[in-house]
Assembly symmetry: C2
Homo-oligomer: 307 residues x 2
Protein backbone atom coordinates (compact mmCIF):
# COMPACT_ATOMS: atom_id res chain seq x y z
CA UNK A 1 0.00 0.00 0.00
CA UNK A 2 2.85 2.38 0.84
CA UNK A 3 4.54 1.64 -2.48
CA UNK A 4 1.25 1.75 -4.44
CA UNK A 5 0.33 5.25 -3.21
CA UNK A 6 3.53 7.33 -3.20
CA UNK A 7 3.03 10.74 -1.62
CA UNK A 8 -0.46 9.98 -0.30
CA UNK A 9 -1.49 10.13 3.36
CA UNK A 10 -2.24 6.60 4.61
CA UNK A 11 -4.20 6.07 7.83
CA UNK A 12 -4.73 2.75 9.62
CA UNK A 13 -8.48 2.09 9.95
CA UNK A 14 -7.99 -1.64 10.63
CA UNK A 15 -8.83 -2.18 14.26
CA UNK A 16 -12.46 -3.25 13.90
CA UNK A 17 -11.62 -5.97 11.37
CA UNK A 18 -8.46 -7.30 13.04
CA UNK A 19 -8.35 -10.80 14.50
CA UNK A 20 -8.78 -9.55 18.04
CA UNK A 21 -7.68 -6.51 20.02
CA UNK A 22 -4.01 -7.53 20.17
CA UNK A 23 -3.85 -8.01 16.41
CA UNK A 24 -5.48 -4.61 15.92
CA UNK A 25 -2.85 -2.87 18.04
CA UNK A 26 -0.01 -4.75 16.37
CA UNK A 27 -1.49 -3.89 12.97
CA UNK A 28 -1.44 -0.18 13.84
CA UNK A 29 2.18 -0.48 14.96
CA UNK A 30 3.24 -2.49 11.89
CA UNK A 31 1.55 -0.10 9.47
CA UNK A 32 3.31 2.83 11.14
CA UNK A 33 6.68 1.06 10.74
CA UNK A 34 5.81 0.35 7.10
CA UNK A 35 5.31 4.06 6.44
CA UNK A 36 1.66 4.85 7.20
CA UNK A 37 1.03 8.38 8.52
CA UNK A 38 -1.35 7.70 11.39
CA UNK A 39 -3.91 5.44 13.00
CA UNK A 40 -7.55 5.72 14.03
CA UNK A 41 -6.89 3.42 17.02
CA UNK A 42 -6.65 5.69 20.05
CA UNK A 43 -4.84 3.17 22.25
CA UNK A 44 -2.19 2.61 19.56
CA UNK A 45 -1.63 6.35 19.55
CA UNK A 46 -1.15 6.43 23.30
CA UNK A 47 0.92 3.26 23.53
CA UNK A 48 3.22 3.72 20.54
CA UNK A 49 3.15 7.48 19.95
CA UNK A 50 1.57 7.09 16.51
CA UNK A 51 -0.27 10.24 15.32
CA UNK A 52 -4.03 9.85 15.67
CA UNK A 53 -6.33 10.52 12.74
CA UNK A 54 -9.94 9.69 12.04
CA UNK A 55 -13.30 11.08 11.09
CA UNK A 56 -16.93 11.10 12.14
CA UNK A 57 -19.29 8.11 11.76
CA UNK A 58 -22.25 7.73 9.43
CA UNK A 59 -24.31 7.25 12.58
CA UNK A 60 -23.62 10.84 13.67
CA UNK A 61 -24.95 12.20 10.38
CA UNK A 62 -27.96 9.91 10.67
CA UNK A 63 -28.62 10.95 14.26
CA UNK A 64 -28.83 14.61 13.19
CA UNK A 65 -30.78 13.85 10.07
CA UNK A 66 -29.73 17.18 8.58
CA UNK A 67 -26.21 16.80 7.21
CA UNK A 68 -25.14 20.45 7.51
CA UNK A 69 -26.17 20.46 11.18
CA UNK A 70 -24.15 17.29 11.78
CA UNK A 71 -21.08 18.70 10.00
CA UNK A 72 -21.23 21.99 11.91
CA UNK A 73 -21.74 20.36 15.33
CA UNK A 74 -18.87 17.94 14.69
CA UNK A 75 -16.49 20.66 13.46
CA UNK A 76 -17.24 23.01 16.36
CA UNK A 77 -16.93 20.26 18.99
CA UNK A 78 -13.61 19.03 17.62
CA UNK A 79 -12.06 21.93 15.70
CA UNK A 80 -8.58 20.42 15.18
CA UNK A 81 -8.05 18.47 11.98
CA UNK A 82 -11.74 18.35 10.99
CA UNK A 83 -12.55 15.64 8.43
CA UNK A 84 -16.20 15.42 7.37
CA UNK A 85 -17.74 12.19 6.09
CA UNK A 86 -19.86 13.12 3.09
CA UNK A 87 -21.29 9.90 1.63
CA UNK A 88 -24.15 9.11 4.00
CA UNK A 89 -26.85 10.22 1.53
CA UNK A 90 -25.58 11.92 -1.66
CA UNK A 91 -21.86 12.62 -1.89
CA UNK A 92 -21.94 15.52 -4.36
CA UNK A 93 -24.85 17.20 -2.56
CA UNK A 94 -22.93 16.89 0.71
CA UNK A 95 -19.82 18.39 -0.93
CA UNK A 96 -21.91 21.46 -1.81
CA UNK A 97 -23.06 21.70 1.81
CA UNK A 98 -19.44 21.58 2.96
CA UNK A 99 -18.48 24.27 0.42
CA UNK A 100 -21.24 26.48 1.81
CA UNK A 101 -20.45 25.72 5.45
CA UNK A 102 -16.65 26.09 5.33
CA UNK A 103 -16.54 29.93 5.07
CA UNK A 104 -18.99 30.21 7.98
CA UNK A 105 -16.83 27.90 10.10
CA UNK A 106 -13.67 29.72 9.00
CA UNK A 107 -15.18 32.94 10.31
CA UNK A 108 -15.50 31.18 13.66
CA UNK A 109 -11.85 30.05 13.48
CA UNK A 110 -12.60 26.44 12.53
CA UNK A 111 -10.89 25.08 9.43
CA UNK A 112 -12.31 22.09 7.50
CA UNK A 113 -9.21 20.03 6.74
CA UNK A 114 -10.73 17.26 4.62
CA UNK A 115 -13.78 15.41 3.42
CA UNK A 116 -14.02 11.64 3.28
CA UNK A 117 -15.68 9.43 0.62
CA UNK A 118 -16.53 5.91 1.77
CA UNK A 119 -18.62 4.42 -1.07
CA UNK A 120 -19.46 4.60 -4.76
CA UNK A 121 -17.20 5.22 -7.78
CA UNK A 122 -14.34 6.91 -5.97
CA UNK A 123 -12.56 8.12 -9.11
CA UNK A 124 -15.66 9.88 -10.46
CA UNK A 125 -16.81 11.13 -7.06
CA UNK A 126 -13.39 12.49 -6.10
CA UNK A 127 -13.31 14.48 -9.37
CA UNK A 128 -16.82 15.80 -8.77
CA UNK A 129 -16.09 16.73 -5.16
CA UNK A 130 -12.77 18.37 -6.11
CA UNK A 131 -14.51 20.49 -8.74
CA UNK A 132 -17.25 21.58 -6.32
CA UNK A 133 -14.76 22.53 -3.61
CA UNK A 134 -12.37 24.30 -6.02
CA UNK A 135 -15.17 26.30 -7.61
CA UNK A 136 -16.21 27.43 -4.14
CA UNK A 137 -12.67 28.59 -3.39
CA UNK A 138 -12.09 25.65 -1.04
CA UNK A 139 -9.01 24.25 -2.79
CA UNK A 140 -7.41 23.70 0.60
CA UNK A 141 -9.91 21.03 1.69
CA UNK A 142 -8.32 17.66 1.05
CA UNK A 143 -10.12 14.50 -0.12
CA UNK A 144 -9.71 11.23 1.81
CA UNK A 145 -11.12 7.92 0.53
CA UNK A 146 -11.94 4.67 2.32
CA UNK A 147 -14.21 1.65 2.06
CA UNK A 148 -12.56 -1.76 1.77
CA UNK A 149 -9.67 -0.49 -0.37
CA UNK A 150 -6.59 -2.58 -1.08
CA UNK A 151 -3.23 -1.94 -2.75
CA UNK A 152 -4.63 -2.68 -6.22
CA UNK A 153 -7.31 -0.03 -5.71
CA UNK A 154 -4.65 2.49 -4.68
CA UNK A 155 -2.59 1.72 -7.78
CA UNK A 156 -5.68 2.02 -9.98
CA UNK A 157 -6.60 5.39 -8.46
CA UNK A 158 -3.03 6.61 -8.98
CA UNK A 159 -3.11 5.44 -12.62
CA UNK A 160 -6.46 7.20 -13.14
CA UNK A 161 -5.08 10.39 -11.60
CA UNK A 162 -7.98 10.57 -9.13
CA UNK A 163 -7.66 13.74 -6.99
CA UNK A 164 -7.55 11.78 -3.72
CA UNK A 165 -5.04 13.02 -1.15
CA UNK A 166 -5.14 10.17 1.32
CA UNK A 167 -6.68 6.86 2.29
CA UNK A 168 -8.18 5.19 5.33
CA UNK A 169 -7.14 1.53 5.05
CA UNK A 170 -8.69 -1.19 7.18
CA UNK A 171 -9.66 -4.73 6.29
CA UNK A 172 -7.17 -5.33 3.48
CA UNK A 173 -4.31 -3.99 5.60
CA UNK A 174 -5.04 -5.57 8.97
CA UNK A 175 -6.13 -8.99 7.70
CA UNK A 176 -3.78 -9.08 4.64
CA UNK A 177 -6.77 -10.69 2.94
CA UNK A 178 -4.93 -12.00 -0.12
CA UNK A 179 -2.19 -13.63 1.98
CA UNK A 180 -3.91 -14.27 5.31
CA UNK A 181 -1.07 -16.29 6.81
CA UNK A 182 2.71 -16.47 6.69
CA UNK A 183 3.84 -19.99 5.81
CA UNK A 184 6.80 -19.82 8.15
CA UNK A 185 8.06 -22.58 10.48
CA UNK A 186 11.23 -23.45 12.33
CA UNK A 187 13.27 -26.42 11.17
CA UNK A 188 16.16 -28.09 12.93
CA UNK A 189 19.25 -27.77 10.73
CA UNK A 190 22.02 -28.53 13.22
CA UNK A 191 22.02 -30.48 16.49
CA UNK A 192 24.92 -31.19 18.81
CA UNK A 193 27.32 -29.70 16.25
CA UNK A 194 26.16 -31.98 13.46
CA UNK A 195 24.03 -31.01 10.41
CA UNK A 196 20.40 -32.12 10.17
CA UNK A 197 18.04 -32.12 7.20
CA UNK A 198 14.31 -32.74 6.66
CA UNK A 199 13.65 -34.65 3.45
CA UNK A 200 9.82 -34.89 3.43
CA UNK A 201 8.24 -34.68 -0.02
CA UNK A 202 8.12 -31.03 -1.03
CA UNK A 203 9.48 -29.93 2.35
CA UNK A 204 13.21 -30.66 2.12
CA UNK A 205 15.51 -28.19 3.88
CA UNK A 206 19.17 -27.19 3.58
CA UNK A 207 21.26 -28.54 6.47
CA UNK A 208 23.77 -26.80 8.70
CA UNK A 209 24.33 -23.45 10.42
CA UNK A 210 23.84 -20.76 7.80
CA UNK A 211 24.35 -17.12 6.94
CA UNK A 212 22.83 -14.97 4.18
CA UNK A 213 24.95 -12.37 2.33
CA UNK A 214 23.38 -9.55 0.33
CA UNK A 215 25.12 -7.63 -2.45
CA UNK A 216 24.33 -3.99 -3.20
CA UNK A 217 24.89 -1.84 -6.30
CA UNK A 218 26.80 1.44 -6.07
CA UNK A 219 23.47 3.33 -5.78
CA UNK A 220 22.47 1.15 -2.79
CA UNK A 221 19.98 -1.09 -4.66
CA UNK A 222 19.91 -4.74 -3.65
CA UNK A 223 21.50 -6.99 -6.29
CA UNK A 224 21.21 -10.55 -4.99
CA UNK A 225 21.73 -12.88 -2.01
CA UNK A 226 23.88 -15.91 -1.32
CA UNK A 227 22.80 -18.53 1.21
CA UNK A 228 25.87 -20.31 2.53
CA UNK A 229 27.40 -21.91 5.58
CA UNK A 230 28.34 -19.81 8.59
CA UNK A 231 32.07 -19.15 8.27
CA UNK A 232 32.08 -18.77 4.50
CA UNK A 233 32.97 -15.34 3.12
CA UNK A 234 31.23 -14.72 -0.21
CA UNK A 235 30.64 -11.19 -1.50
CA UNK A 236 28.03 -9.12 0.32
CA UNK A 237 26.93 -8.02 3.77
CA UNK A 238 25.74 -10.67 6.28
CA UNK A 239 22.03 -10.29 7.17
CA UNK A 240 21.70 -12.60 10.19
CA UNK A 241 22.88 -11.39 13.61
CA UNK A 242 22.38 -12.92 17.06
CA UNK A 243 19.58 -11.31 19.09
CA UNK A 244 19.46 -13.79 22.02
CA UNK A 245 22.13 -15.75 23.83
CA UNK A 246 21.68 -18.00 26.83
CA UNK A 247 17.96 -17.21 26.84
CA UNK A 248 18.47 -13.44 27.05
CA UNK A 249 18.12 -10.65 24.54
CA UNK A 250 21.43 -9.06 23.64
CA UNK A 251 19.91 -5.58 23.16
CA UNK A 252 16.58 -3.83 23.63
CA UNK A 253 14.25 -3.33 20.66
CA UNK A 254 15.19 -0.32 18.55
CA UNK A 255 12.92 2.70 19.02
CA UNK A 256 9.87 2.68 16.76
CA UNK A 257 11.16 5.68 14.80
CA UNK A 258 14.35 3.78 14.00
CA UNK A 259 12.37 0.72 12.84
CA UNK A 260 10.28 3.00 10.61
CA UNK A 261 13.36 4.66 9.11
CA UNK A 262 14.93 1.24 8.52
CA UNK A 263 11.79 0.01 6.71
CA UNK A 264 11.76 3.11 4.51
CA UNK A 265 15.45 2.66 3.64
CA UNK A 266 14.94 -1.03 2.83
CA UNK A 267 11.93 -0.28 0.60
CA UNK A 268 13.98 2.37 -1.19
CA UNK A 269 16.78 -0.17 -1.75
CA UNK A 270 14.48 -2.72 -3.42
CA UNK A 271 15.16 -3.10 -7.14
CA UNK A 272 12.43 -1.18 -9.03
CA UNK A 273 10.66 -4.29 -10.44
CA UNK A 274 10.24 -5.59 -6.87
CA UNK A 275 8.54 -2.36 -5.85
CA UNK A 276 5.66 -3.12 -8.25
CA UNK A 277 2.49 -4.94 -7.21
CA UNK A 278 2.60 -7.41 -10.10
CA UNK A 279 4.61 -10.60 -9.52
CA UNK A 280 7.07 -12.31 -11.80
CA UNK A 281 10.21 -10.30 -11.16
CA UNK A 282 12.67 -12.78 -9.66
CA UNK A 283 15.36 -11.75 -7.19
CA UNK A 284 18.57 -13.76 -7.49
CA UNK A 285 19.25 -16.05 -4.51
CA UNK A 286 22.18 -18.46 -4.84
CA UNK A 287 23.06 -21.49 -2.72
CA UNK A 288 26.79 -21.65 -2.05
CA UNK A 289 28.77 -24.66 -3.34
CA UNK A 290 29.82 -25.51 0.23
CA UNK A 291 26.16 -25.73 1.34
CA UNK A 292 25.28 -27.94 -1.63
CA UNK A 293 28.21 -30.19 -0.76
CA UNK A 294 27.13 -30.49 2.89
CA UNK A 295 23.58 -31.49 1.84
CA UNK A 296 24.93 -34.21 -0.47
CA UNK A 297 27.28 -35.40 2.27
CA UNK A 298 24.42 -35.55 4.80
CA UNK A 299 22.18 -37.50 2.41
CA UNK A 300 24.93 -40.02 1.69
CA UNK A 301 25.77 -40.50 5.38
CA UNK A 302 22.14 -40.74 6.54
CA UNK A 303 21.01 -43.46 4.14
CA UNK A 304 21.99 -45.88 6.85
CA UNK A 305 20.38 -44.63 10.05
CA UNK A 306 17.44 -42.84 8.42
CA UNK A 307 16.05 -45.64 6.25
CA UNK B 1 -14.44 -28.45 8.68
CA UNK B 2 -16.74 -30.09 11.23
CA UNK B 3 -19.42 -30.65 8.58
CA UNK B 4 -16.88 -31.79 5.95
CA UNK B 5 -15.40 -34.51 8.17
CA UNK B 6 -18.26 -36.20 10.01
CA UNK B 7 -17.10 -38.68 12.63
CA UNK B 8 -13.44 -37.65 12.38
CA UNK B 9 -11.33 -36.36 15.27
CA UNK B 10 -10.47 -32.69 14.67
CA UNK B 11 -7.67 -31.01 16.60
CA UNK B 12 -6.84 -27.29 16.61
CA UNK B 13 -3.22 -26.81 15.49
CA UNK B 14 -3.76 -23.13 14.67
CA UNK B 15 -1.88 -21.17 17.31
CA UNK B 16 1.39 -20.60 15.46
CA UNK B 17 -0.37 -19.13 12.41
CA UNK B 18 -2.95 -17.02 14.25
CA UNK B 19 -2.80 -13.22 14.12
CA UNK B 20 -1.25 -12.95 17.56
CA UNK B 21 -1.49 -14.82 20.85
CA UNK B 22 -4.99 -13.57 21.68
CA UNK B 23 -6.33 -14.67 18.29
CA UNK B 24 -4.70 -18.09 18.78
CA UNK B 25 -6.43 -18.60 22.12
CA UNK B 26 -9.76 -17.38 20.77
CA UNK B 27 -9.35 -19.67 17.75
CA UNK B 28 -8.88 -22.66 20.04
CA UNK B 29 -12.00 -21.68 21.99
CA UNK B 30 -14.05 -21.05 18.84
CA UNK B 31 -13.05 -24.34 17.22
CA UNK B 32 -14.03 -26.20 20.40
CA UNK B 33 -17.46 -24.52 20.36
CA UNK B 34 -17.78 -25.44 16.67
CA UNK B 35 -17.24 -29.12 17.48
CA UNK B 36 -13.50 -29.76 17.35
CA UNK B 37 -12.27 -32.45 19.74
CA UNK B 38 -9.17 -30.83 21.19
CA UNK B 39 -6.41 -28.28 20.87
CA UNK B 40 -2.62 -28.36 20.77
CA UNK B 41 -2.48 -24.99 22.58
CA UNK B 42 -1.64 -25.79 26.20
CA UNK B 43 -2.85 -22.46 27.59
CA UNK B 44 -6.23 -22.90 25.86
CA UNK B 45 -6.51 -26.27 27.57
CA UNK B 46 -5.81 -24.73 30.96
CA UNK B 47 -7.92 -21.62 30.50
CA UNK B 48 -11.00 -23.12 28.83
CA UNK B 49 -10.86 -26.79 29.85
CA UNK B 50 -10.43 -27.95 26.25
CA UNK B 51 -8.84 -31.43 25.95
CA UNK B 52 -5.18 -31.18 24.93
CA UNK B 53 -3.84 -33.16 22.02
CA UNK B 54 -0.67 -32.94 19.98
CA UNK B 55 2.32 -34.82 18.72
CA UNK B 56 6.08 -34.66 18.50
CA UNK B 57 7.99 -32.25 16.24
CA UNK B 58 10.08 -33.07 13.19
CA UNK B 59 12.97 -31.48 15.06
CA UNK B 60 12.88 -34.24 17.69
CA UNK B 61 13.24 -36.92 15.01
CA UNK B 62 16.02 -34.92 13.40
CA UNK B 63 17.82 -34.42 16.72
CA UNK B 64 17.95 -38.19 17.25
CA UNK B 65 18.80 -38.94 13.62
CA UNK B 66 17.61 -42.51 14.12
CA UNK B 67 13.78 -42.49 13.81
CA UNK B 68 13.13 -45.58 15.91
CA UNK B 69 15.22 -44.17 18.76
CA UNK B 70 13.25 -40.91 18.58
CA UNK B 71 9.89 -42.72 18.56
CA UNK B 72 10.84 -44.91 21.51
CA UNK B 73 12.23 -42.06 23.60
CA UNK B 74 9.14 -39.92 22.94
CA UNK B 75 6.71 -42.74 23.74
CA UNK B 76 8.46 -43.72 26.97
CA UNK B 77 8.76 -40.13 28.18
CA UNK B 78 5.10 -39.34 27.49
CA UNK B 79 3.26 -42.66 27.53
CA UNK B 80 -0.32 -41.29 27.51
CA UNK B 81 -1.93 -40.83 24.11
CA UNK B 82 1.28 -41.38 22.09
CA UNK B 83 1.10 -40.01 18.53
CA UNK B 84 4.22 -40.50 16.44
CA UNK B 85 5.09 -38.20 13.52
CA UNK B 86 6.25 -40.44 10.68
CA UNK B 87 6.96 -38.22 7.67
CA UNK B 88 10.34 -36.72 8.51
CA UNK B 89 12.22 -38.94 6.04
CA UNK B 90 10.17 -41.71 4.38
CA UNK B 91 6.60 -42.19 5.60
CA UNK B 92 6.13 -45.85 4.67
CA UNK B 93 9.56 -46.82 6.02
CA UNK B 94 8.70 -45.06 9.27
CA UNK B 95 5.36 -46.90 9.45
CA UNK B 96 7.28 -50.19 9.30
CA UNK B 97 9.48 -48.96 12.17
CA UNK B 98 6.37 -48.14 14.22
CA UNK B 99 4.89 -51.57 13.44
CA UNK B 100 8.08 -53.19 14.71
CA UNK B 101 8.38 -50.93 17.75
CA UNK B 102 4.74 -51.04 18.96
CA UNK B 103 4.83 -54.61 20.38
CA UNK B 104 8.08 -53.84 22.24
CA UNK B 105 6.50 -50.71 23.76
CA UNK B 106 3.29 -52.63 24.55
CA UNK B 107 5.35 -55.11 26.53
CA UNK B 108 6.54 -52.13 28.59
CA UNK B 109 2.96 -50.95 29.04
CA UNK B 110 3.13 -48.13 26.51
CA UNK B 111 0.48 -48.07 23.79
CA UNK B 112 1.03 -46.25 20.49
CA UNK B 113 -2.30 -44.48 19.91
CA UNK B 114 -1.69 -42.97 16.50
CA UNK B 115 0.74 -41.98 13.77
CA UNK B 116 0.66 -38.62 12.02
CA UNK B 117 1.28 -37.85 8.34
CA UNK B 118 2.20 -34.22 7.60
CA UNK B 119 3.22 -34.19 3.91
CA UNK B 120 2.95 -35.96 0.58
CA UNK B 121 -0.09 -37.61 -1.07
CA UNK B 122 -2.15 -38.19 2.05
CA UNK B 123 -4.72 -40.47 0.38
CA UNK B 124 -2.07 -42.85 -0.99
CA UNK B 125 0.14 -42.65 2.09
CA UNK B 126 -2.73 -43.25 4.52
CA UNK B 127 -3.66 -46.41 2.56
CA UNK B 128 -0.06 -47.60 2.55
CA UNK B 129 0.42 -46.91 6.25
CA UNK B 130 -2.93 -48.53 7.11
CA UNK B 131 -1.91 -51.67 5.21
CA UNK B 132 1.50 -51.84 6.90
CA UNK B 133 0.01 -51.42 10.39
CA UNK B 134 -2.87 -53.85 9.78
CA UNK B 135 -0.54 -56.54 8.39
CA UNK B 136 1.57 -56.17 11.52
CA UNK B 137 -1.50 -56.67 13.71
CA UNK B 138 -1.54 -52.99 14.69
CA UNK B 139 -5.09 -52.25 13.54
CA UNK B 140 -5.62 -50.24 16.73
CA UNK B 141 -3.10 -47.54 15.79
CA UNK B 142 -5.04 -44.62 14.31
CA UNK B 143 -3.89 -42.36 11.47
CA UNK B 144 -3.91 -38.57 11.90
CA UNK B 145 -3.19 -36.20 9.01
CA UNK B 146 -2.08 -32.56 8.96
CA UNK B 147 -0.20 -30.08 6.79
CA UNK B 148 -2.10 -26.99 5.65
CA UNK B 149 -5.41 -28.83 5.20
CA UNK B 150 -8.69 -26.99 4.67
CA UNK B 151 -12.34 -28.05 4.52
CA UNK B 152 -12.11 -28.91 0.81
CA UNK B 153 -9.24 -31.29 1.53
CA UNK B 154 -11.27 -32.98 4.28
CA UNK B 155 -14.24 -33.42 1.90
CA UNK B 156 -11.93 -34.82 -0.81
CA UNK B 157 -10.38 -37.32 1.62
CA UNK B 158 -13.85 -38.40 2.76
CA UNK B 159 -14.97 -38.84 -0.87
CA UNK B 160 -11.82 -40.88 -1.60
CA UNK B 161 -12.43 -43.06 1.45
CA UNK B 162 -8.92 -42.40 2.77
CA UNK B 163 -8.35 -44.36 6.01
CA UNK B 164 -7.60 -41.21 8.02
CA UNK B 165 -9.13 -41.11 11.52
CA UNK B 166 -8.47 -37.51 12.44
CA UNK B 167 -6.94 -34.21 11.43
CA UNK B 168 -4.71 -31.55 12.89
CA UNK B 169 -6.01 -28.26 11.45
CA UNK B 170 -4.10 -25.02 11.70
CA UNK B 171 -3.69 -22.21 9.17
CA UNK B 172 -6.94 -22.66 7.27
CA UNK B 173 -8.92 -22.82 10.51
CA UNK B 174 -7.31 -20.06 12.54
CA UNK B 175 -6.89 -17.54 9.72
CA UNK B 176 -10.05 -18.55 7.76
CA UNK B 177 -7.87 -17.99 4.73
CA UNK B 178 -10.65 -17.96 2.13
CA UNK B 179 -12.71 -15.42 4.11
CA UNK B 180 -10.10 -13.57 6.16
CA UNK B 181 -12.46 -10.92 7.48
CA UNK B 182 -16.09 -10.54 8.47
CA UNK B 183 -17.66 -7.64 6.59
CA UNK B 184 -19.74 -6.61 9.58
CA UNK B 185 -20.44 -3.06 10.84
CA UNK B 186 -22.96 -1.27 13.02
CA UNK B 187 -25.43 1.10 11.40
CA UNK B 188 -27.77 3.53 13.12
CA UNK B 189 -31.36 2.53 12.30
CA UNK B 190 -33.29 4.44 14.95
CA UNK B 191 -32.45 7.56 16.96
CA UNK B 192 -34.55 9.36 19.54
CA UNK B 193 -37.49 7.12 18.67
CA UNK B 194 -37.35 7.97 14.96
CA UNK B 195 -36.21 5.68 12.11
CA UNK B 196 -32.90 6.33 10.35
CA UNK B 197 -31.55 4.96 7.08
CA UNK B 198 -28.21 5.04 5.25
CA UNK B 199 -28.67 5.41 1.49
CA UNK B 200 -25.05 5.36 0.24
CA UNK B 201 -24.56 3.66 -3.13
CA UNK B 202 -24.52 -0.08 -2.54
CA UNK B 203 -24.72 0.34 1.22
CA UNK B 204 -28.40 1.19 1.84
CA UNK B 205 -29.88 -0.18 5.08
CA UNK B 206 -33.39 -0.95 6.35
CA UNK B 207 -34.59 1.62 8.89
CA UNK B 208 -36.20 1.09 12.28
CA UNK B 209 -35.98 -1.17 15.34
CA UNK B 210 -36.14 -4.72 14.04
CA UNK B 211 -36.62 -8.36 14.96
CA UNK B 212 -35.87 -11.55 12.99
CA UNK B 213 -38.26 -14.51 13.12
CA UNK B 214 -37.20 -18.01 12.08
CA UNK B 215 -39.56 -20.78 11.01
CA UNK B 216 -38.76 -24.46 11.63
CA UNK B 217 -40.09 -27.64 10.03
CA UNK B 218 -41.63 -30.40 12.14
CA UNK B 219 -38.25 -32.21 12.17
CA UNK B 220 -36.53 -29.11 13.54
CA UNK B 221 -34.88 -27.99 10.27
CA UNK B 222 -34.76 -24.24 9.60
CA UNK B 223 -37.22 -23.21 6.87
CA UNK B 224 -36.80 -19.47 6.45
CA UNK B 225 -36.55 -16.09 8.21
CA UNK B 226 -38.57 -12.90 8.20
CA UNK B 227 -36.96 -9.55 8.98
CA UNK B 228 -39.60 -7.17 10.30
CA UNK B 229 -40.25 -4.36 12.72
CA UNK B 230 -40.11 -4.95 16.45
CA UNK B 231 -43.70 -5.43 17.58
CA UNK B 232 -44.84 -7.32 14.48
CA UNK B 233 -45.84 -10.95 14.98
CA UNK B 234 -45.15 -12.99 11.85
CA UNK B 235 -44.76 -16.78 12.03
CA UNK B 236 -41.57 -18.07 13.64
CA UNK B 237 -39.44 -17.75 16.75
CA UNK B 238 -37.72 -14.40 17.44
CA UNK B 239 -33.90 -14.63 17.26
CA UNK B 240 -32.82 -11.30 18.81
CA UNK B 241 -32.84 -10.91 22.59
CA UNK B 242 -31.42 -8.12 24.78
CA UNK B 243 -28.04 -8.94 26.34
CA UNK B 244 -27.16 -5.49 27.78
CA UNK B 245 -29.30 -2.79 29.34
CA UNK B 246 -28.11 0.47 30.89
CA UNK B 247 -24.52 -0.49 30.08
CA UNK B 248 -24.68 -3.79 31.97
CA UNK B 249 -24.92 -7.40 30.82
CA UNK B 250 -28.23 -9.00 31.73
CA UNK B 251 -26.69 -12.45 32.29
CA UNK B 252 -23.24 -14.04 32.41
CA UNK B 253 -21.89 -15.91 29.37
CA UNK B 254 -23.23 -19.44 29.09
CA UNK B 255 -20.74 -22.16 30.05
CA UNK B 256 -18.54 -23.29 27.16
CA UNK B 257 -20.17 -26.74 27.12
CA UNK B 258 -23.57 -25.12 26.61
CA UNK B 259 -22.24 -22.97 23.76
CA UNK B 260 -20.77 -26.08 22.13
CA UNK B 261 -24.05 -28.01 22.47
CA UNK B 262 -25.95 -25.04 21.03
CA UNK B 263 -23.59 -24.87 18.02
CA UNK B 264 -24.03 -28.61 17.38
CA UNK B 265 -27.83 -28.31 17.58
CA UNK B 266 -27.83 -25.32 15.20
CA UNK B 267 -25.59 -27.12 12.68
CA UNK B 268 -27.93 -30.13 12.85
CA UNK B 269 -30.93 -27.86 12.18
CA UNK B 270 -29.40 -26.38 8.99
CA UNK B 271 -31.19 -27.53 5.84
CA UNK B 272 -29.06 -30.23 4.21
CA UNK B 273 -28.01 -28.12 1.17
CA UNK B 274 -26.62 -25.50 3.57
CA UNK B 275 -24.47 -28.13 5.26
CA UNK B 276 -22.52 -28.64 2.02
CA UNK B 277 -19.31 -26.77 1.18
CA UNK B 278 -20.46 -25.73 -2.29
CA UNK B 279 -22.38 -22.46 -2.50
CA UNK B 280 -25.54 -21.70 -4.44
CA UNK B 281 -28.21 -23.01 -2.09
CA UNK B 282 -30.23 -19.95 -1.06
CA UNK B 283 -31.98 -19.69 2.30
CA UNK B 284 -35.25 -17.76 2.18
CA UNK B 285 -35.15 -14.42 4.00
CA UNK B 286 -38.19 -12.15 3.60
CA UNK B 287 -38.60 -8.46 4.44
CA UNK B 288 -41.96 -7.78 6.08
CA UNK B 289 -44.43 -5.44 4.31
CA UNK B 290 -44.41 -3.12 7.34
CA UNK B 291 -40.61 -2.72 7.11
CA UNK B 292 -40.80 -1.98 3.39
CA UNK B 293 -43.48 0.60 4.07
CA UNK B 294 -41.36 2.30 6.76
CA UNK B 295 -38.38 2.54 4.39
CA UNK B 296 -40.53 4.15 1.68
CA UNK B 297 -42.04 6.54 4.24
CA UNK B 298 -38.56 7.51 5.49
CA UNK B 299 -37.27 8.13 1.96
CA UNK B 300 -40.27 10.31 1.12
CA UNK B 301 -39.99 12.32 4.34
CA UNK B 302 -36.20 12.80 4.16
CA UNK B 303 -36.00 14.12 0.60
CA UNK B 304 -36.24 17.57 2.16
CA UNK B 305 -33.64 17.68 4.93
CA UNK B 306 -31.25 15.12 3.37
CA UNK B 307 -30.85 16.60 -0.10
Amino acid sequence: MRLAAPGKTLIDFGFRRAHGAEAGLMGARASWIAGFDGTATVLAGRRFGIPLSGTMAHALVQAFGDETAAFEAFARSRPDNVTLLIDTYDTLAAARKVAALAPRLAAAGVRVAAVRLDSGDLVALSRGVRAILDEAGQGGIRIIASGGLDEDDLAAFAAAGAPIDGYGLGTAMTTSSDVPSLDCVYKLEEFDGRPRRKRSTGKATWPGRKQVWRRFAADGAMQGDTVGLDGEAPAGAPLLAPVMRGGRRLAPSPPLAQARAHAAAQLAALPEPLRRLDPGHPYPVAISPALRALAAEFDAASQGPAS
